[in-house]
Symmetry: C2
């Protein structure tokens, strides 16, 4: 990232205002005037409401949109990949071959996917503020939880089909209530072969120009029938994106750290990013070599490998961005200016003046438990069996508590999604589980040291590999009915279980709980409270016209179809189908599917395949519709360029680009390669 | 590393004087007075000469010492591990089982080991200065090479049994000529099982307390007979090290960066260390999983895995040290003070004032080729077959040039060691070669990008894995006779070869040469010239009483047997054999060899096994004798504690510790476990 441009971040934040095209805007605080000023088009309330209702969040971490009146949902292939693995049975590899439901009956259920449709957003800042006023640390955390539980309970009214989340925004500066309609019956309609969906693989990931057809279609069902979505869906476009035209994304960016203090950024660069990147780099090696053991290992391990590779490349990009001295210098300047203004205003000094010191103190406290916290946090990707066992152990304990005292994923609002994933009928790959669980156990020993009491308790006299093998081979939790029985049986059932994975999960729970409690009370709560103070000072000094850090809630970005200049080269915004054939070498990951090779002569080579835009998105936005001023889908965002990875810490209008697959390429391939006539008919024709 | 102590680094460097126990001192500039002041013992010239003659350098990267009048050499197990693999044939795993030559005839040759005995050191600074005076960049590099070649040629006088190296010290501040006797007939005498040599494995590596018997014995042969070393060898001690007593190491620390400028340290922290650590972390994963494919893969892959793990942990330690803000702040203060003094002195300002800017400019130029340089540098660990092919391709080209114009490893002084490694009779493991070569090729593509012309040239339309397999399966270079034939045939022979690995090495050579030339002329030469200017300013301002950065040449350190206090805990300097049994879990890497378990009752449990000292050593010192004031071996240095890894950038007397295996534990195990009576007899009895 150029130093000059990065320096601008600081200025932008200092002024509290977003730069051209920057921003992941709240749907209930969208800067329509700015769009008008920049692009001569002002989205009105109806346009925004329609966009909100047409957008879909996939609770596992993706974005999507309704594209027909019958619940048809467009998203990325990499957002449905897990489902493709799940519907594959021995000898099948749906992810490799692609999938097209030839009839409605063949639309197979993705048992782990929950879809959310946002039906309302309201602000509850004052309510939360009142409940937490004057409280700190554990008291603050507890009061926040209790009030959140009360608000979400009122909102959902006991209806499990509603999901209500209270979301902290601006790092504690504002709290909004998101009310979603929840759908857990989501089925697969279409996905191309992963060789074209992920054409270019890791080498091309987060790069541009790009030639990938990263699309998948799902359908939401309600009461066993396709959802009636006449009230809100996007038309699936039939024309090329035009360089320079305005483009919007509606999606759910996962998380950014643009409002971090300098101390937090230093921690990120010096501790968090390096350790996390090293963890995933080694796991990438493990999984790469695992998938080479044979075709079956490749089938079961590839999704994990791709996930790890994607994370690793993202971390590398963030790290490079943070290692640019100009970025930190810019942040330092902005922070110093803000602190000086706060100090000069007696009222602000009183309300917000201690916030930075509070954060410094929290970071210092955190360093004492950072190792343990990291060891426990990495459990998440270690083993489905162990994570399932942990849910089974925790669920009865947590559900016996009042809603406001539970670990948040066991709250009334969130547990249904957790329960769905727990009971999803997904085949287990024991070999892969042994490898990834063994890796995690080895890392826990490495991080805490072989003499740590927790390590002694978890490993006993076993090696990590031995223990992983014993647990995976001994457990019955791979069987969905067994998990359901244990979950339904509650405390007594799980308590009486002698399943080795359950027994081990009890040990893990005992080690993980105190760390989590400490994190929530001494760290997260302090950061939330201090972040709130800083945000209020910023609102007071610079006004309210900015956007909060990403929180995997709905955000709308605006920008334009546009390339960029870098290192003396001018990168064009559009790629075409012909380019994929030019790039193909015949060797993975540059090997086109056979059906593409065979159809080459039929395809219109000049069809736009992928395109770049200036929209400001990050991970979580995958699958977001990229729509034009009419609200028609021009394409589906599936990636960003490498410089977009610095987007965690700021937006650089000159270099940060969203990468999307075009609607016209999707239509072209559905028609000429996949013979998906019914699907094309359903996508219909754009009439305006 | 504690912040207070790190801050002291800066002060020490600012004053140009080393702190208590700090220093990797030149044998021809040893601060005997300092030892006298600290420990009441002053090594005289005879003591130092005897130490120098008794010490041995293993050219592959280790240290060692003569411990009998008949050429017996003590070093670490991990320094002879490669030889153990080499002498193993299918079905054998000498590294796992250990090895004891029951008779002289069973002392098998380690065909890749070259041993060097330092017979003289002289200073040639003025000669080099005169030859390079006023020159910069490529001219400087070329003049330096030509003069170096002339000096070494005079020194060796055409005798291949002599090895003469001109060594830049103080980063260009001084040049010394090292004259070694070279021995290429080195044979294995004894090594214990790797389960005890490396007890604790990676978890315990760079940690302390420690319980490892990291020892191996070699014998140097001359004209087919054991070397007569009556003129210089150490007595192998028979008593415990005493806490507080003075201890010396004589060895060859590989490299440190203590004289780096702040800009160089920033580059190290922000670019070099992270990228290198990530490279090795991923390779660790690859090799870990490779060694799990089966016992044969484990046998052939374990040495590579251990090497990668060792490097990775070292990089992590260096990184943590450099991420302590206090270290960089201390260096900044010291550098600013030095620059101010230089600026204030008109003469120094003229001779040395531009040095820092020269370095900054070189770093900036370097960043343009850093990716390419890194991609080519990592080739070294990628594949023996490819590296051998590259030597075969380059050797005739280089040897046709005057000595002063060759790539340095092809110079008259250095080529014999390269030739020996090339022709060493070591079995190739094709599976492992495919994996590591494929990894490197994939990384080259990742680093340079799939669209880079070099990547196109190297990979063509193959994937990295496909190409690696084709090359490894197609080459005949695994056969030692084939390599010898090609080497002997010279340019015509290699030129006519259609071996695919030779053909590929030609492509690699074409890509690697210009990068290397650019590095040597635009970067190394500038740093050497600028480093020389800074060093001369330091000598002028602070006097000559310090030591240069490590250069894998002989250094003597002094210190004491001593533990340390850290995080409220007091770590004792000695561990005992009983501790190994306490630590054993029965699972690797905490599994003791069967012979140890069986012999438990016979062993004297209180025998000192390992011990810590304050000696200032780094990688390359492995195998260094730790001797007492009498010149008796108390033990063999094999490691440092975790904080010692910060030793790359400075020495912290409170926390930096050397870790050694005791001579008494070696004797105890030779007597009671390995039945090595002849070896014990040869080690003899200490009479003084």
């Amino acid at each position: 990232m150029s130093r000059v441009l990065l320096a601008l971040f600081g200025l932008a934040l200092a002024a509290g205002a977003a730069r051209a095209d920057e921003g992941m805007w709240l749907p209930n605080d969208f800067p329509a005037d700015k769009v008008q000023a920049a692009y001569g088009f002002k989205p009105d309330a109806a346009w925004l409401d329609h966009a909100r209702l047409s957008a879909i969040r996939l609770a596992g971490g993706c974005s999507a949109s309704l594209v027909s009146p019958n619940g048809l949902v467009a998203t990325n292939h990499h957002c449905v990949r897990e489902c493709l693995t799940q519907i594959s049975r021995k000898g099948e590899d749906t992810s490799a071959t692609g999938y097209l439901a030839a009839s409605p009956a063949e639309e197979k259920r993705c048992t782990a996917i929950e879809a959310n449709r946002l039906i309302d957003v309201t602000t509850v800042t004052e309510r939360i503020r009142k409940a937490t006023e004057g409280k700190t640390g554990a008291d603050f955390a507890s009061a926040l939880k209790v009030e959140t539980a009360a608000i979400t309970k009122e909102c959902a009214g006991g209806d499990d089909n509603l999901r209500c989340d209270v979301q902290s925004l601006f790092r504690g500066g504002r709290y909004d209530l998101y009310k979603y309609r929840r759908y857990q019956d989501v089925r697969i309609v279409f996905a191309p072969e992963d060789a074209i969906a992920d054409f270019g693989g890791d080498p091309d990931n987060f790069e541009y120009p790009r030639y990938a057809l990263d699309v998948g279609f799902l359908r939401i069902y309600e009461n066993g029938k396709p959802l009636d979505s006449k009230d809100g869906y996007f038309h699936f476009g039939e024309r090329e994106p035009l360089p320079g035209e305005v483009a919007f994304t509606i999606g759910n960016p996962g998380s950014t750290e643009r409002l971090f203090t300098v101390a937090q950024l230093d921690e990120e660069r010096n501790v968090t990013l390096p350790r996390t990147a090293l963890y995933f780099a080694e796991e990438r090696g493990i999984l790469t070599e695992f998938t080479r053991r044979g075709p079956e290992q490749r089938r079961v391990g590839e999704a994990s490998l791709l996930g790890v590779e994607n994370t690793l490349k993202a971390l590398r990009g963030e790290w490079e961005a943070l290692s640019e001295p100009a970025l930190i210098e810019g942040k330092k300047t902005a922070e110093a200016a803000l602190r000086a203004k706060v100090a000069a205003d007696p009222e602000l000094a009183k309300s917000s003046g201690t916030a930075w010191d509070d954060i410094d103190a929290a970071l210092k406290r955190h360093s004492a438990i950072a190792d343990r916290a990291f060891a426990m946090a990495t459990l998440r990707g270690a083993s489905r069996l162990l994570n399932d066992a942990l849910i089974l152990v925790r669920a009865p304990v947590e559900q016996a508590k009042p809603d406001g005292e539970r670990l948040e994923e066991y709250s009334a609002a969130r547990f249904p999604a957790l329960r769905q994933r727990l009971l999803a009928d997904q085949p287990i790959a024991p070999d892969l589980e042994i490898v990834t669980l063994g890796y995690w156990l080895g890392k826990v020993r490495e991080i805490l040291g072989p003499d740590d009491p927790a390590v002694h308790k978890l490993l006993g006299t076993s090696s990590p590999e031995q223990l992983a093998e014993t647990l995976v081979k001994g457990t019955k939790l791979g069987d969905t009915a067994t998990r359901k029985k244990l979950l339904d049986a509650g405390a007594a059932g799980v308590g009486g279980s002698n399943d080795p994975m359950i027994a081990f999960a009890r040990l893990v729970d005992a080690e993980a709980r105190p760390v989590r409690r400490q994190l929530e009370d001494d760290y997260d709560a302090v950061l939330d409270a201090a972040g709130g103070k800083i945000a209020r000072a910023q609102f007071a000094l610079y006004g309210n016209s900015t956007y909060p850090d990403a929180t995997f809630t709905m955000r709308i970005s605006y920008g334009a179809v546009q390339g960029w200049d870098e290192a003396g080269k001018s990168i064009q915004p559009l790629t075409r189908i012909a380019g994929a054939f030019d790039r193909a070498t015949g060797a993975e990951p540059f090997k086109l599917p056979e059906r593409w090779v065979a159809a080459k002569g039929n395809l219109t080579a000049s069809t736009v395949l992928d395109f770049a835009t200036t929209n400001d998105i990050v991970g979580g936005n995958s699958g977001s519709p990229v729509i034009d001023r009419h609200g028609d889908v021009m394409g589906l965002a599936f990636d960003g360029n490498f410089k977009s990875l610095g987007g965690d810490f700021g937006y650089d209008p000159a270099l940060n680009r969203t990468v999307a697959v075009s609607a016209v390429a999707i239509r072209e391939s559905l028609a000429k390669i996949y013979g998906a006539k019914a699907l094309l008919d359903e996508l219909g024709t754009v009439t305006h």
